[in-house]
C-alpha cells in the first residue's frame, strides 16, 4: 500500500475505528454494568457467573439508618454549596464581563484553580485555615470547601451566557429611565436564568459526589461518599453496589436535565466548559 489509500483501505480503516470505539465504550461501561448486575446478586460481590437474583441488598439498604442520615447530610451540603456557588459565582461573572479592576486576570485564574487542582490541596489548605481560626470541623466546614471550589462552575456558565447578551438591550432599558436594579431583574436576570439553573444542577451533582475535599473537612457527621468510604475500608458488601446503582441513576437523571437546559440555552458551545483550562 502506497501513501494513497484506496476506497477499500479507507472503508477498512473506518471499520477498524468503529470496532475500536465499541471496545472503548465497553471499557468505560464495564464497571457500571458490574455494579448494577452484582447489586442483585445473592452470592455477594464477586463470583462469575452471578446467580440467585435478589433484591435483598436493596431492602437491607432501605433499613440502614446510617446511610439515609448521610444522604440527608449530603443533600444539605449540596444545597448550601449551590447557594454559595451562585451567590458568589454570578457577581464574579458580572464582574469579569463588565468591570475592570487591578488583578482581574489573576482573579479569573484563581477562581478556576480549585477545579483543576487535586482535591487534597483545597481540602488541606482550608483545614489549616480552620485550625488557625479555631473553627470546629462540621458539615459547615465541608460546605465552605465545596462552595468555594465550585464558584467557578457558576462563573463559567453565567459568563458564557453574558457574552451572548447584547449590551444594547440593557442600554435601552437604562436610557428609558429604568434604574440598575430594574434593568438587572427585567433584562439581565431573565437572560441568565437558564445558565443559572444549569450551574445549580451541576454544582449540586458535583457536590453530592465530592469526596477528596470533604475527607479533610468533615466533622462527626458523614456525607454519603464518606459513609461509603468508611464501609469500603471495613469490607465490601453488595449493599454498596445497591446504593451506588441508585446514585448512578440519580446522577444520570440530573445530567439529562442539565443537558436539556444547555441545549435550550444555546446550542453551539460544548457542555462541560467548566473543565476547560485556565483562560
Amino acid at each position: 500500500m502506497g501513501l494513497v489509500m484506496t476506497q477499500n483501505d479507507w472503508n477498512r480503516g473506518r471499520i477498524a475505528l468503529a470496532v475500536y470505539a465499541a471496545l472503548l465504550f465497553a471499557f468505560l461501561y464495564l464497571p457500571v454494568l458490574v455494579l448494577v448486575v452484582y447489586s442483585c446478586n445473592g452470592q455477594g460481590v464477586g463470583g462469575f457467573p452471578p446467580h440467585n437474583f435478589t433484591l435483598r441488598w436493596y431492602s437491607l439498604l432501605f433499613q440502614d439508618d446510617a446511610i439515609w442520615r448521610s444522604v440527608g447530610n449530603s443533600i444539605v451540603v449540596a444545597l448550601a454549596s449551590v447557594l454559595i456557588g451562585l451567590a458568589l459565582g454570578i457577581p464574579a461573572a458580572l464582574a469579569l464581563d463588565r468591570a475592570s479592576f487591578p488583578g482581574k486576570r489573576a482573579f479569573r485564574r484563581l477562581v478556576l484553580l480549585p477545579l483543576v487542582l487535586p482535591g487534597i490541596i483545597t481540602g488541606l489548605s482550608l483545614l489549616m485555615l480552620f485550625r488557625e481560626a479555631d473553627v470546629k470541623l462540621s458539615l459547615a466546614t465541608v460546605i465552605l470547601g465545596h462552595g468555594t471550589a465550585l464558584i467557578s462552575v457558576a462563573t463559567t456558565e453565567v459568563y458564557a451566557s453574558l457574552q451572548r447578551l447584547e449590551r444594547v438591550q440593557e442600554e435601552a432599558s437604562l436610557d428609558l429611565g429604568a434604574n440598575y436594579w430594574q434593568t438587572f431583574w427585567r433584562i439581565t436576570f431573565p437572560h441568565m436564568r437558564l445558565s443559572i439553573i444549569a450551574a445549580a444542577l451541576l454544582i449540586f451533582t458535583l457536590s453530592i459526589d465530592e469526596i477528596a475535599v470533604s475527607f479533610f473537612l468533615i466533622g462527626r457527621e458523614n456525607t454519603l461518599p464518606l459513609e461509603i468510604w468508611g464501609r469500603l475500608r471495613r469490607g465490601i458488601t453488595p449493599e454498596i453496589n445497591a446504593i451506588s446503582t441508585i446514585i448512578f441513576v440519580f446522577s444520570l437523571l440530573t445530567i439529562l436535565a442539565w443537558y436539556r437546559l444547555r441545549i435550550r440555552g444555546k446550542g453551539e458551545t460544548e457542555p462541560f466548559q467548566a473543565a476547560e483550562p485556565l483562560p
Partner: protein
C-alpha cells in the same frame, strides 16, 4: 455604561471571598511548611527550611514522588491515546448519532469517582469478577494476585476515570478545525492518511495538551484510588501527606509536600497554556 457603584457591588464580594478562602489558605499552607512540631506535639512557629531539607534528603519521599509522577504519566499517556481515535471518529466520520455517542462518553464522568474505583476493586479482586470469569472459562486455574493492590490497579482505575476528561478538550479542538481545510488538503492531492497526519494532528494539539494536563495533574494528586486499590507498592505522594496530617502528625512537613505539589501543578498549568497558545492557529 455601568456605574462605579454597580461595578463595586459585583466585584467586591467575590474578590473578598476568594482572598479569604483561596489566597489566605494557600498562604497559610506556605507558612506552615516552614514551621515544625515539638516532641510534645504542639506547633512551633519558628521559621526554617528543615521540612524542605527532609523532602529532598529522605529516600522515601523522593521515591514516592517519582512513583506518583510515573503513575500519573502512564495515566496521561493512556487517557490521551485511548480518547484520540474516538474523538477523531466522532468529529470527522460520524454523522448520525453523533450527539448520542458524545453523551455516552460524558456519562461515565458523572458516575461518582468513589463508585467507579469501588467497581474496579470488585472486578480485580482475588474472588473478583475478572478472576472468577477467567477460571470459569478455564483460561486460568488460580486467581491472579497481581491484579489488585498494585500500581497496575491504580493506573487502570485512574485511566478509566480520566479518559473521558481527556476526550473533551481533544474533541473540542477537532470540532474547531474548519472543514474547508480538510477539503483543501484532499483537493491538493493528499490522501486521507496524509490529511490526518499533516492537518488534523497538528491542529488538534492544543486539545491534546489540555487533556494531557488534566489527566496528569488530577491523577498525580490522587490519594483515594491508591488507598483503595494500590496496596503497599502503589502508595502515592498524597498518601504520605494524608498520613502526615493524620497518624504521623507532622502538619508542617505535610504542608511542605502539599505546597510543592501546588507549585508543580501551577507550573504545569502555565506550561500547558504556553504550549496551547504556541500551537494554536488563527
Amino acid at each position: 455604561m455601568f456605574s462605579r457603584a454597580y461595578k463595586t457591588w459585583v466585584t467586591l464580594p467575590p474578590l473578598v471571598w476568594v482572598a479569604a478562602f483561596l489566597v489566605l489558605p494557600y498562604a497559610l499552607m506556605f507558612a506552615y511548611s516552614f514551621w515544625s512540631v515539638s516532641a510534645a506535639g504542639s506547633l512551633r512557629h519558628t521559621w526554617n527550611f528543615a521540612n524542605y531539607g527532609q523532602l529532598l534528603g529522605r529516600e522515601v519521599y523522593r521515591q514516592t514522588l517519582l512513583r506518583s509522577a510515573w503513575i500519573a504519566a502512564r495515566v496521561m499517556l493512556f487517557a490521551v491515546l485511548l480518547s484520540y481515535p474516538l474523538a477523531y471518529l466522532l468529529s470527522f466520520h460520524t454523522r448520525k448519532g453523533k450527539d448520542l455517542l458524545y453523551q455516552l462518553v460524558i456519562i461515565p464522568l458523572w458516575v461518582s469517582y468513589l463508585v467507579r474505583a469501588y467497581a474496579w476493586k470488585t472486578i480485580l479482586g482475588t474472588d473478583g469478577v475478572l478472576n472468577t470469569s477467567l477460571q470459569y472459562l478455564h483460561i486460568t486455574t488460580h486467581p491472579l494476585h497481581f491484579l489488585l493492590y498494585s500500581p497496575f490497579a491504580v493506573v487502570l482505575t485512574l485511566t478509566h476515570i480520566y479518559t473521558p476528561f481527556a476526550f473533551l478538550p481533544v474533541y473540542a479542538a477537532m470540532e474547531h478545525i474548519p472543514r474547508n481545510l480538510i477539503e483543501a488538503s484532499h483537493d491538493l492531492g493528499a490522501s486521507a492518511l496524509q490529511t490526518f497526519w499533516r492537518v488534523i494532528v497538528p491542529l488538534s494539539m492544543p486539545g491534546v495538551v489540555a487533556g494531557a494536563t488534566f489527566a496528569f495533574v488530577l491523577s498525580f494528586g490522587d490519594f483515594l484510588a491508591p488507598l483503595l486499590l494500590g496496596g503497599p507498592s502503589g502508595v502515592m505522594i498524597s498518601n504520605i501527606v494524608v498520613s502526615l496530617f493524620g497518624a504521623a502528625y507532622n502538619w508542617p512537613l505535610g504542608a511542605a509536600i502539599s505546597f510543592c505539589m501546588l507549585a508543580l501543578v501551577i507550573a504545569l498549568l502555565w506550561l500547558s497554556e504556553r504550549l496551547e497558545k504556541r500551537w494554536a492557529w488563527s
